[in-house]
């Protein structure tokens, strides 16, 4: 793990991985969308509108996955003071927030024909909304400090507190009110979804994950280059004065 603490080495490896991740994103999402929109059969109850699922479900999974990654990176930053994990956690937050917004927006579009309302105060929807607020709070706190290193550390503490709290919020909200269908892919006794729908769904999940990796690498590289640029400018102005 500490092999990658060296920014130069990270820049070299990430430059090699980035095109693969970007191409994987493009190929997987094109195949996944083709299968989802043209090949997969319409649902016997929901008709064609079930196709929203192929964007909605991967986005919702990624929203949770990115938060988990952010919390793991924050823990690494606090425990081992790994310099890149701070950057990774901060770079993940806007991506995760975007996935959350996509999941909420597509869920709202799907809810209108199915439940007859753009928004219902259902457990899943509400806990996703709370997750969005956690992302927004994280980003606001990280940007509030003048010194980016302290901002990253404060945000790391908040990310871990939120990580402990997300399951609590999730379960409390579940008991509070529910209308959303229960999990149907990952459950005891195998998935309750036919292969013709499961395959495009999993391809879309892989595509979204590749997208996350590609954008994360891009954002981390930008962050490292910006930091380098800042220190160069500082040292130059010191020499001139």
């Amino acid at each position: 793990m500490h092999r990658f603490a060296n920014p130069t080495r990270f820049m070299r490896y990430s430059a090699a991985v980035l095109p693969w991740a970007a191409w994987a994103t493009a190929v997987l999402i094109v195949i996944g969308l083709y299968l989802a929109l043209f090949v997969a059969p319409p649902d016997y109850q929901q008709g064609e509108s079930v196709r929203i699922m192929f964007v909605h479900v991967p986005a919702a999974w990624m929203a949770l996955f990115v938060y988990t990654g952010m919390a793991a990176a924050s823990a690494m930053a606090l425990i081992w003071k790994h310099p890149l994990s701070d950057i990774a956690a901060r770079a993940s937050a806007p991506i995760g927030a975007c996935f959350t917004v996509i999941a909420l927006a597509t869920g709202s579009l799907w809810g209108k024909p199915m439940w007859g309302a753009w928004w219902v105060w259902d457990a899943r929807l509400t806990s996703m909304l709370v997750l969005l607020f956690l992302y927004l709070g994280y980003m606001a706190l990280a940007d509030a400090f003048d010194d980016p290193a302290r901002g990253a550390k404060a945000a790391a503490i908040l990310a871990l507190v939120g990580f402990v709290n997300v399951p609590i919020i999730k379960f409390s909200v579940d008991w509070w009110n529910t209308l959303h269908q229960p999990a149907s892919v990952i459950k005891m006794g195998g998935p309750a979804i036919h292969l013709s729908m499961l395959a495009p769904l999993l391809i879309m999940v892989a595509g979204f994950t590749a997208y996350y990796i590609a954008v994360l690498i891009m954002r981390m590289r930008t962050e490292i280059i910006t930091a380098k640029l800042r220190s160069l400018q500082m040292s130059r102005s010191e020499r001139q004065s």
């Binding site: 607020f133 709070g137 606001a140 550390k153 503490i157 908040l158 507190v161 919020i169 409390s172």
Partner: protein, 221 residues
Amino acid sequence: MTAFWCLVRRDLRLAFRRGGDSVNVMIFFLLTITLFPFGVGPEQAILMRIAPGVIWVAALLAAMLSLDGLFRGDFDDGSLDLMILGPLPLEMIVLAKCLAHWLATGLPLVIVAPLLAVLLSMDGEGFTTLIGAMLLGTPILSLVGAIGAGLTVSLRGGGVLISLLVLPLYIPVLIFGVGAVDAAVYGLAARPHILILGAMLIAALPLCAWASAAALRLSVE
């Protein structure tokens, strides 16, 4: 342990000599609840239905209002640095300050809550449950709030940011607090909700103290 109680006594004495905080929080609590009959109309049936939720939401907001001052004064005049250098672990300092904060601002809310329940024509069964749930719930608000206060204490405009950080974390307390009172009003068992609130308080005591102490160490760097 004496250092712990000294700190609690000092904070309480500061709070009462300054006088404002406890009274202001109570007035804010009363005022927020007074707004609801204006907002939703004075029909008793509606007020009775929303009373538990309204009282809890107002308590959440009132508790949040006083959070910014939890560490701010000690941070600004440097006492916090001295406390960190002292023999008492920072986690215990946080707990002492949370206890003092709860006694000064949380307990007054619990005391006036039954009065507000009468104003909102809540049923008699809800009273004792409301008090019990608030006795367990409001300390959690102080403890979780201490994390937000610790993270933002070194920031200039920290007050607004606290609400953004802390309110999402308050949601479980709200759900089970309202759940307990609702259950009692409708003649169901309030015990499970109360037990979960108690469990959350027990979990919050060490975890929040720990996280808040980490945040304070970062803030005084």
